[in-house]
Symmetry: C2
Subunit: 440 residues, 2 copies
């Protein structure tokens, strides 16, 4: 199974025969498709790090609650668009217990995954003021959010945060906000793909500027609690997950269930809107919605128009999962910490064989071990490295498509079983032998 | 329980106390909310005809298939955005067996309800040609589809079809198409709310003009097979559900599971795109998507960006339901025909007590009995009738909001239990006694 490297002729043949773009300029889905084909052709099991998908089963609490709801007959009844009451209540409780932030259940609304949460946020937040134009993204980031903006005809800007950490963040943000064109600011914390985490000082800067320039902050918490350097998993006890909500009342949080509860298949997330923003009136919303109220426009405008609500049985599943963590009867960290442990080992394997971690520092501390890490190889561009690694049975995606200004790849640990670590070690060493590092 | 009429003072008090708009200008949801409040205050059980929701349980075939998929662990795995293979295959088979139309499984894609099906269709179909502007709706229709268009900043036009049936439809449609501004045409067949059904001649006209002017036809089949004058429920046997797909290759069908399978809670529908349209290239799509291919833009552009796919377990549920009807082991008509039977009785009760059916003819034939019917009362506007009927414990929605040019109300039969028919009879008679018809 370690017939490595695979011949470049074979891979080129597969690429051409299937009309695929060159691997270096492929999207995530195209890489997935190509690697499926190479695996089928060669019988070699790849170290697959290209997809950001959960690698654990859903906790049975959620699955059983869904099944119970199905047996009760919820499948025939349209779900309340604003969400079933227990889900709204448990979400507000979760935000209080794990983020130490007050929010009304009314302001916690289910969406068909955080993908829809982002879309609904853009549709309303970027249309609340006719003099503004769109979203500022703190990059690197999740490329699909920019595709969403493009698809609905809004505008966006972005910058790579890595050169603007700490106090430098203030001037950089202000340079955009001062134009008066920024409706909303989006970032993910922890960051996908760099896994850096904005700290309390940086969040305080963001909060202060969001108030000064009246910019809505969209905080994407897709990887909630996965900065494993701290334990954010004890209900009602510090430390709490860092959030901008402590520094402004002009925020939306996107809470995904996909990673924290390995619930990606069922497509549910929560949009939490600060009470202040939820109840605020923006006359310019009337251009696109039947009301000037922000929260009402998100629910009865955007979410109604996108899907008329979220799968009924799944709402009961997520409510049960949240109740269990709120009650302290289930600790999500005990499950997902496996990602962090795998990251530690895999990073070691790469760095022992000539690779470097692209985003290795989080301000002055080493970056956390989590769901993603980033690698580069001396003297190679992102594209070259991506293509070359394929010959060695290793797949990942290029940092190019994440808005990063650095050369390298994003690697996700979730789908790499520990049984493949020996193969990974062998392949990484072979790669280094075949690509001796110059200038060292 | 028949303390009828309810005092207008009481209802006015409830309206004011809860900050509701006057009933005559209320949305569906506002009427629902108001009637909930009146029922709670008076203890009177209303004849509730305002909501278009299923009133039957989901067939157990679907529920059990969902539960089985959950037990197999699909909840942790992102679903394929283009849909799981068995669902795609059974949908293509369904379209062949019940509409007598050929389509590849590849072109059958799940959406989070037909609400998302419409949204995804607009996002792509209305952006395929920079010289065109939006959708033409054949009214009366479902008001939310126009809200969707407004929310994403597209344009639309509409006309009430009732004055343009048969051959008159050609000139009317052509007057819009000739402007060169129409990207897509949308209608529902059977029609919500009028329950008229475009016939083969009319569909042939639409097909011909769609080819001549290169307009994409979006056929909303939310009430598939519910023109109970014919039996469209035998797989592979005529008569087949009428469809424009026999007259053009420039079509999208929206197949809802909400009514035919009483599956509204789980939010799944199918978008079926003709093979020709699916594979067509439109360079102008590159303004909004990463490809110029129509089908690829719907799946990896619109549907990916809206929700990253449809709840995994639900895809197995719908696949099982479709397989059962395709195999002939389950006949959906045996269940939903109850709606038609209730409509026949309820229409009789109203017409025996001075009411009239607004849309009573379907060309030269009486309109079918189905999920909806329309009523008016001599000398009363839509608003007056809606408000007055509330005093008699009867709720419905105004035709105003459906694009109809006629005065009257839309009534849905699904949530009215047969046990209430005696009350309905009593209340309708009392209404007539209190509102003697002048000029008769």
């Amino acid at each position: 199974m370690n017939n490595i490297p695979i011949s470049s002729d074979l891979i080129n043949y597969i690429v051409k025969e299937n009309g695929l773009p060159s691997p270096g300029s492929s999207s995530i889905r195209e890489i997935v498709h190509l690697v499926d084909l190479i695996e089928a052709k060669t019988g070699i099991k790849f170290v697959r790090m290209e997809m950001g998908v959960p690698g654990l089963p859903t906790p049975s609490i959620g699955v059983e609650a869904e099944i119970e709801a199905l047996r009760r007959g919820v499948s025939s009844l349209y779900p309340d668009i604003s969400g079933i009451a227990p889900l709204k209540e448990e979400t507000a409780r979760f935000i209080k217990l794990f983020l130490d932030v007050e929010i009304s259940p009314e302001c916690c609304i289910p969406s068909v995954g955080s993908m829809m949460g982002g879309m609904a946020s853009f549709l309303v937040a970027n249309r609340n003021d006719r003099t503004k134009e769109g979203t500022l993204f703190i990059d690197p980031g999740f490329p699909v959010q920019k595709q969403q903006i493009k698809m609905i005809g809004h505008d966006y800007q972005s910058f790579d945060v890595c050169n603007y950490r700490g106090n430098k963040l203030r001037d950089k943000l202000e340079s955009y906000f001062k134009t008066g064109k920024i409706s909303s600011l989006l970032y993910s914390n922890p960051n996908n793909p760099a896994w850096i985490c904005l700290n309390e000082d940086e969040l305080a800067i963001i909060g202060e500027l969001s108030r000064k320039y009246d910019v809505i902050v969209i905080e994407d918490l897709a990887y909630f609690g996965m900065d494993f350097r701290k334990d954010y998993s004890i209900p009602g006890k510090a430390p709490f997950q860092p959030t901008v909500a402590r520094y402004t009342d002009n925020w939306i949080m996107l809470l995904s269930s996909s990673k924290i509860f390995s619930y990606a298949g069922q497509r549910i997330g929560m949009i939490a809107i600060s009470d202040n923003l939820f109840n605020r009136s923006y006359p310019d919303l009337l251009r696109y919605f039947s009301t000037d109220k922000f929260g009402h426009s998100v629910i009865f405008g955007a979410l109604y128009g996108l899907s008329a609500g979220v799968t009924h049985s799944v709402q009961y599943g997520l409510a049960a999962l949240l109740k269990a963590v709120n009650d302290g009867t289930y600790n999500f960290r005990d499950d997902v910490i496996e990602y962090g442990e795998k990251a530690r080992i895999m990073k070691k394997i790469f760095t022992s064989n000539g690779f470097e971690i692209v985003y290795d520092k989080d301000l002055d501390k080493p970056v956390a071990d989590g769901f993603y890490f980033t690698i580069s190889y001396p003297g190679m561009t992102s594209r070259e490295l991506l293509e070359e690694l394929l010959y060695y049975g290793i797949s990942a995606i290029s940092l190019d498509i994440t808005g990063s200004e650095r050369e390298g790849l994003r690697a996700c640990v979730s789908l790499v079983p520990r049984e493949l670590f020996d193969d990974l070690e062998f392949r990484a060493r072979k790669f280094m032998e075949d690509h001796p590092v110059k200038n060292k």
